[in-house]
Subunit: 290 residues, 2 copies
């Protein structure tokens, strides 16, 4: 049976809508903070001119503007040394007017990502990548959770999709999406399977998932053979095919099987940015309490 248009609409997880809701609640908090004399501010550091990074940074700046958050962008040439970058981060760590620090990844290869991530003060680590904050994911007391996995949980919550006892399958084991999301779903008592490019029977494992999350960046990897009837499908992938943005999931091939699905664009992406703003305001509110 082919779904009709309104069936399809009901299946689509509207990432932009959820993000707008989050941003509207953030904006109210920002107004209150400003009344107390605190202007929430995020510093975004971009090293080099990676085109995708330029777009991501622009999206983050625009979201900050919408929320009333001050966004301070520092762009450095590709030739910036690791030591120079660490010095810049130290300045921001010590700047009481900055509440969140984001270094856009990837960095040029002469700069060590681990060192940079660990240089950011954990209390300003709004990306949630500092190991101290990553470790606190296990004990569920992180001040900031990494934006993409946390955005995915917010989507599930928005549509009342419980994961306790459910079978969740994550394709992709990156440090910023796949691994932390796996732990965050374990915290919610899901059965979690984490797969990678060396896994032999991805299709067979994926096709048993109640919730399937794909974060590989391989365009249209996931077709109907990977999807169980009634599954929720979350597409974290982003690729550019002939100037058209698409995700890991072949939307048209799976739409008849899924109960819910995120589109690309307009799915996970806006949530990632909204959570970043939420983390920044959370950090600024911590300042209020001091």
């Amino acid at each position: 049976m082919i779904c009709n248009n309104s069936d399809i609409q009901n299946k689509i997880i509207d990432g932009r809508l959820i993000a707008r809701n989050i941003e509207s609640s953030i904006s109210e908090k920002v107004i209150k903070l400003k009344q107390s004399g605190i202007v929430p501010a995020i510093a975004v550091i971009l090293v080099g001119e990676d085109p995708a990074s330029v777009v991501y940074v622009r999206n983050k700046e625009r979201a900050a503007q919408r929320c009333g958050i001050l966004s301070k962008k520092d762009i450095y040439p590709e030739s910036l040394t690791e030591k120079e970058l660490i010095n810049k981060i130290e300045e921001l760590n010590n700047d009481p007017l900055i509440h969140g620090i984001l270094v856009q990844l990837p960095l040029p290869s002469h700069i060590g990502e681990k060192k940079i991530t660990e240089a950011i003060n954990p209390s300003k680590d709004v990306d949630g990548f500092h190991p101290l904050n990553v470790g606190k994911i296990f004990t569920e007391n992180a001040p900031f959770y990494p934006c993409t996995p946390y955005g995915i949980l917010k989507m599930l919550d928005y549509y009342d999709i419980p994961v306790k006892g459910k079978n969740c399958v994550i394709i992709g084991q990156s440090n910023i999406v796949g691994k932390p999301l796996a732990v965050m779903l374990m915290n919610r008592l899901a059965a979690v399977s984490s797969l990678n490019i060396f896994t032999k029977d991805v299709k067979s494992i994926a096709s048993k998932a109640d919730v399937l999350i794909s974060a590989t960046g391989k365009a249209h990897l996931i077709d109907d053979g990977y999807v169980k009837d009634g599954a929720v499908v979350i597409d974290v992938g982003i690729a550019n095919i002939g100037g058209k943005i698409c995700g890991d999931v072949n939307f048209d091939k799976v739409i008849n099987k899924v109960s819910k699905i995120t589109p690309v664009p307009g799915g996970v992406g806006p949530l990632t940015v909204a959570v970043l703003m939420e983390n920044t305001v959370k950090s600024a509110m911590g300042r209020l309490q001091k």
Copy 2:
């Protein structure tokens, strides 16, 4: 076909043997450290008189003795307050003659485990439970990895059992075994499924595992229905049935199917203790480099 006795012996992962090997390499390092005037020392704190904890602490003391590591045991009454315990930990943090600090868990309910774990200086956190060290599991630069999961990896290495591309299933999602082990197996590019008591089809998922790790504490949960032919089975469980120590796995029922299996006792337990000693010596060697 019933295995004969020598078949069975060849299948058994001899945790005590591997632990002895590790301890013998530790002992050599301890001798060198002592020649440089450093006596590696671990402080073990026990609050209350939980019988299992008393046994665990005794095992750790004996291992320290075998390796030539100084073990300083502090036993406090159940009535010790959280603040008092934190003060004791602070003293040990500041004591240059102490290289490792271990607070035996579980703690009495009036003491917050998270707070205590975070009070230990990460550079002396030989249990590998401090969130900073847990977070560094993701980026594979932790100074100390949690002892039980790391001991399991050492077992796999000892018998040349690769996990890259293999299907690893972990039953149990605790913060000290199941969750960190899941991430450590992802680091090795395994497909990892993490299950819990709310998972509906544990048996069906487990029976597809190349490596099955059970860490539930439910005696004899795992019978032949849970095990694929040729699987490696690691039993982290420990229970006491009628005065007899047994694990999660019904050894007699699965022995014909497995290619390798850990016994209980004599499997994972000795490795956990040996890794703790290794972590302590690693910490002391760091002192040497300063």
